[in-house]
């Protein structure tokens, strides 16, 4: 069975050159960093806040904070990882403000009891994406991921949607590597389980529709 590979590989040296130019006051270099990562920051922010206006604010605030604190960036990680850490914190703050009734934390309790393996596993249709039209599929995927606790959702988005490595995810979220792995496993299994409702093979054998 094939393995999943991260989908982002940025040349560190080129990124660091831009960072160093920006640190010396070159705003064009900073603008280039904005161009490079604004889409990623927006996606992450919208996944966490689940609100488009909040996500727009997070993009602005994260880049402004990065700009204002550039001198403090030690260059021990990628600029992108550092930026993601800022963006995640901004996004969680927005979420807490919007949903004060719920405690929102990356340290949410992770269920450890061994209850995640379903007793009876229904296989999926061979091409599950083709069972629905594009709008229906987007709706299913959005509602499903929004149902995950914020801590699981954030780890899944950074690791599997944005393609950060386990180490980069741990660094960006200030979590340990085992904590990232455990949340990622739970997130993946919960999403799989919820999607099965929509994607499982039909009993009549018409799973190929």
């Amino acid at each position: 069975m094939s393995t999943i590979q991260p989908n982002i590989e940025q040349p560190v040296s080129e990124e660091m050159q831009l960072v160093r130019r920006a640190k010396r006051g070159d705003d064009q270099a900073f603008e280039e960093l904005v161009r490079r990562y604004d889409r990623n920051v927006f996606r992450i922010a919208q996944h966490i806040t689940q609100n488009r206006e909040d996500a727009e604010d997070v993009v602005q605030e994260a880049f402004l904070k990065a700009y204002g604190n550039l001198a403090k960036f030690q260059e021990q990680s990628k600029f992108y990882t550092w930026l993601v850490r800022i963006a995640v914190n901004e996004a969680l703050m927005k979420l807490r403000r919007r949903k004060p009734e719920r405690t929102v934390s990356l340290d949410e309790d992770v269920k450890t009891e061994d209850d995640s393996l379903p007793r009876e596993v229904a296989d999926w249709s061979p091409n599950p994406e083709q069972m629905y039209n594009q709008a229906e599929l987007r709706d299913i995927l959005t509602r499903t991921i929004q149902g995950l606790p914020a801590g699981f959702r954030t780890v899944f988005v950074l690791r599997d949607v944005e393609g950060l490595s386990t180490e980069e995810t741990a660094d960006a979220l200030e979590l340990s590597i085992p904590a990232v792995k455990s949340r990622l496993l739970r997130a993946r299994l919960q999403l799989r389980d919820r999607l099965s409702r929509y994607f499982q093979k039909k009993a009549s054998g018409d799973g190929n529709q």
């Binding site: 069975m1 094939s2 393995t3 999943i4 590979q5 989908n7 006051g25 705003d27 900073f30 603008e31 904005v34 161009r35 604004d38 889409r39 927006f42 996606r43 919208q46 996944h47 996500a55 727009e56 993009v59 602005q60 880049f63 402004l64 700009y67 204002g68 061994d114 995640s116 393996l117 379903p118 009876e120 596993v121 229904a122 296989d123 999926w124 599950p128 994406e129 599929l137 987007r138 995927l141 959005t142 991921i145 899944f156 599997d160 949607v161 393609g163 386990t166 792995k181 990622l184 496993l185 993946r188 299994l189 999403l191 799989r192 999607l195 099965s196 994607f199």
Partner: protein
Amino acid sequence: MKCSEFLNELTNYLDGALDDRTKSELDDHLAWCHNCYVVCDTTRKTIEIYRGSELYELPEDLRTRLRSAIMSKCSAHKKSDSSSS
């Protein structure tokens, strides 16, 4: 190997982060355990579907507007910094 042991290693298995020996133990388990095979296969599909989904893309006009707002605030920040120092 028990199904629960397989499941605990599922993330490492899908990420290709296992040594050869553990990987081959998991492959052996998958060869006879249909449930774990299905869970593994559909979890991999779950990741691929989300990775390719482009759920929250930034429209180009909004992108331009955000970038220009960011850069003008950066420039104001720089001016206020230099006038206060």
